[in-house]
């Protein structure tokens, strides 16, 4: 919501500990008998979407739930490995809701909203209770209690996990609840559908237009509200840890319908991924951050040392994270670990065939704990590593390198998770809300589930009860207009018949963005990148080749549509990074650093969320600012040394 030209979250004042309780108390309700009169469209079936759709179904709303995959259970959340945080303090090691809140605010380098983060920390407790009750086989201690491990950027053990498959198990729990509501007739699932436009009637989100990916039919659905849970857009870089169908299309088309896009350039580069091996590689595989609990990161002290790792004596190894950050060691946050790895590789001390890798070594852990304990903790990750690289991490250290992983940027939402378009709510990775300029490990799963299970049921009711929403059907002219646009784009893509493939062009865009809006950025590079993105975009529209038709399954056509949006988003990412003349979290502007080389924040000028408004094809987007106020935690230099 706008006040005096500034954006505001709409959270109540007063003590932070009771904000959410007081806010909930002030929200309007929809009575049980009235809920079935409301149709709610939930787009996406990841942790955010499946939890939202099932929770709303349990309450009695009519829910329509769409996803791109052939089954809701396959949404990208399924790939999360490491774990989910909760401030249970089961380890008696000093954890609390306040500490989780504090760690997250600091981890995000003071670019997140206090009230949202506090609420997230508070809800983390209920999430674990609920997921355990769903029968999720979390890791246990011998006494039968829930087990924990540590993640980067914190000094307590608060991460709950199910082997290296936490995301899978949490998603299957949510998917089970969702299917239960399908059986109860509360939720209808439409798989293999791609949302391609939002329909806005009288200034409110009233429906969507999507493409049936099997028949090619353009389908419209009307409802009283739309809840977007469409995930992140790291695949803008082409190579990333995300699934190949991850995309920004849904949120981008909403942006073009008037939803503000916040902090688009805040992208997390994850330090522990398997390095690129070939030119045909389609994606990068993450090695969970949990490995840094026991693995030690190092490179040779001497540049150009090509000896096999096991022949490099202890005295000639540089455990650079432990050396530079003694307080957190190998468990510094992701942005810090990634930049440090890049720096040692830039000095010529990188390892492996490309020199773009560092070691993650388990030799000492195996000695200390025994191979069985290491296998129990990380067995499936080691196996995955071996499958890909043909090397055995029990014998030789893993090689790792940073890769794009998570997008903190996304559609701007208020405290109720509503975007600047009334009736359009955005949950999970698709919104910008809780992680500031850097996300701590094991907190995305937590956020997705907090949004879906525990926030949207309250805030959506408030919206539905507080507004008179007339009857709108898909016969409304706004649907015709959106369908026409969607159809025209499909036809245009199929008619170009140029010489370049979608993949080639995507690879080029990804390379460019990785170099210019990746781990480090600078003004000149960003200005050039904007020009280059535009050139590439033009080449795309003149010279892409999308064979086949729009009347049946055509993955090339799907990918082309997503890439078309990525060119536009890529430009906005550069613009956003250029505008922010400071370094914070993942956003490292080479011009703004301390004498030690650490990022230098500028709280005087940039303690705000940058929210961009679309102003039309070819026109400059308009920047709106949401000032960030720190009432509980005073921003300080974020040090892990």
């Amino acid at each position: 919501m706008m006040r005096n030209g500034e954006l505001h979250s709409g959270a109540p004042g007063g003590p932070i500990e009771t904000k959410w309780e007081r806010h909930k108390g002030s929200l309007r309700l929809v009575s049980p008998a009235n809920r079935r009169k409301f149709d709610v469209i939930v787009v996406g079936t990841g942790l955010a979407g499946a939890s939202a759709a099932s929770a709303l179904g349990e309450l009695g709303y009519n829910v329509l739930n769409l996803c791109i995959q052939d089954s809701p259970r396959r949404a990208h959340s399924v790939a999360a490995q490491g774990g989910i945080n909760a401030a249970k303090n089961y380890r008696n090691d000093g954890d609390s809701v306040f500490r989780l809140f504090y760690d997250t605010i600091k981890g995000g380098d003071f670019r997140a909203r206090e009230e949202n983060v506090y609420r997230l920390a508070e809800l983390s407790l209920k999430i674990i209770d609920h997921c355990a009750a769903q029968g999720i086989p979390f890791a246990r201690e011998y006494g039968g209690h829930l087990a924990n491990r540590s993640f980067g950027g914190v000094q307590v053990s608060r991460t709950f996990y199910a082997r290296g498959q936490t995301g899978q198990q949490l998603l299957l729990g949510a998917y089970g609840s969702l299917m239960r509501q399908v059986d109860a007739g509360q939720v209808r699932i439409l798989p293999r559908r791609e949302m391609l436009d939002l329909v806005v009637v009288d200034g409110r989100a009233r429906g969507i237009v999507c493409r049936n990916l099997v028949t090619g039919a353009i389908e419209s659905y009307a409802g009283h509200a739309v809840v977007l849970c469409t995930g992140g857009y790291s695949t803008v870089y082409f190579l990333s840890t995300n699934a190949v169908n991850s995309n920004a299309t849904a949120i981008w088309r909403c942006y073009k319908r008037g939803a503000f896009f916040a902090n688009p350039s805040f992208t997390q580069i994850h330090p522990t991924c398997i390095p690129v091996v070939g030119s045909q590689q389609s994606k990068l595989t993450l090695m969970s951050e949990s490995l840094r609990n026991d693995g030690r990161v190092w490179v040779p002290k001497q540049p150009g040392d090509r000896r096999p790792p096991n022949e490099i004596p202890e005295s000639e190894r540089d455990y650079f994270l432990e050396r530079m950050y003694p307080a957190f060691g190998n468990l510094v946050p992701r942005d810090v670990a990634s930049r440090a790895a890049k720096a040692v590789c830039d000095e010529g001390r990188g390892v492996g065939p490309t020199g773009l890798a560092v070691y993650l070594d388990f030799r000492d852990a195996i000695e200390r704990l025994g191979v069985d304990v290491v296998r129990e903790r990380y067995g499936n990750l080691f196996q995955m590593y071996k499958e890909i690289t043909n090397e055995d991490p029990y014998q030789v250290p893993m090689r790792i390198y940073p890769a794009p992983h998570y997008t903190m940027g996304g559609l701007w939402v208020d405290y109720n998770l509503m975007s600047t378009i009334p009736g359009l709510f955005v949950l999970g990775e698709a919104n910008f809300s809780d992680h500031g300029a850097n996300r701590l490990g094991a907190s995305a799963l937590m956020q997705g589930l907090a949004d879906g299970y525990f926030i949207i049921p309250y805030t959506l009711a408030h919206y539905l009860a507080g507004n008179t929403l007339g009857n709108v059907t898909t016969e409304h002219p706004a649907f015709r207009e959106a369908e026409l646009q969607v159809r025209q784009q499909v036809e245009r893509l199929l008619s170009i018949r140029g010489k370049k493939t979608v993949r080639e062009l995507h690879w080029q865009l990804g390379r460019l963005l990785w170099d210019r809006v990746g781990m480090t950025r600078n003004a000149q590079g960003l200005r050039e990148a904007i020009e280059k993105v535009r050139e590439l975009r033009q080449e795309f529209w003149e010279n892409v080749n999308v064979p086949g038709s729009g009347d049946d399954l055509n993955k090339c056509l799907e990918m082309a549509g997503r890439l078309a949006d990525y060119f536009e988003l890529g430009e906005l990412m550069c613009r956003d990074a250029l505008e922010r003349e400071e370094s914070c979290g993942c956003h490292f502007r080479e011009e703004y650093r301390t004498p030690e080389g650490d990022p230098k924040r500028d709280d005087e000028r940039y303690a705000y969320v940058a929210a961009w408004e679309y102003t039309g094809e070819g026109a400059e987007p308009r920047l709106h600012r949401e000032p960030l106020r720190f009432e509980v935690v005073q921003p300080s230099a974020r040090s892990y040394r």
Binding site: S51, A55, E58, Q69, D70, S71, R73, R74, H76, V78, K88, K126, I128, D129, H130, C131, A132, A133, Q134, G135, I136, P137, R140, Y142, G143, G144, L146, Q165, G167, Q169, L172, G176, S177, M179, R180, V182, I189, A243, V244, V277, G278, Q280, S282, L286, M384, E387, I388, N390, Y453, F454, R497, K499, V502, R503, N545, P547, G548, L553, K555, C556
Partner: protein, 255 residues
Amino acid sequence: MNGENGTRSYTLRIWRQDGPDRPGRFVEYPVSGIDPNMSFLEMLDQLNEELLRHGERAIEFDSDCREGICGTCGVCIDGRPHGPVPNTTTCTLRMREFPDGATITVEPFRAKAFPVVKDLVVDRSAFDRIVQKGGFVSVNVGSAPEANTVLVPKDVAEEAMDSAACIGCGACVAACPNASAALFVGAKIRHLRLMPHGQPERRRRVLSMVAQMDEEGFGNCSNHGECEAACPKSISIENIATMRREYWLALLGLL
């Protein structure tokens, strides 16, 4: 013979089918310049790039995570679902497993309950409809007790996790001569049967999931064991035994 930089060449025989009710056929495609570290799907990507450059329609196949966890991918390679390597999904299978010069036959998962959508893509929504009939614990948001009030012995949680690891890919069905879904269903039954939270619904769960499995046109299990061999997540055939036992106990009113 190995090509430049140790790359390899193959002859692929790939099933092409324009749509659900259209006839299908094998088409041969030579491929070369294949890096042995490439995944099987990256090899198909490379072939598709070639086809697209010549203005031809790409070969449709499903994939998403490309790291063996989402269960989206899955084709039969030389007659074996997910190919020749045990405990591997199609997306994590590497070309180093195939000798240079080999002819490789690629077809969709075949089962009456999994109709072909196009080329190598099939419709596995029957699995969703089975889960819908009870593959969950009926707990509403907001009603859960504090998590540590229900204790689960470590080994029980581990065993439950072994079953819960199923990715729903359908390879077990494709491998079974009867196209039975018993391994998939058994895995869900056993996971929830082991967890204390799953106890109250044991009876209802097994009866209705099994009924739905039959309804969907999956065949009966006659203990061939092919499912276990094809499963990329090492789901043990013991899960089927658990399901049977649960089913009989439920029928006899002993649950």
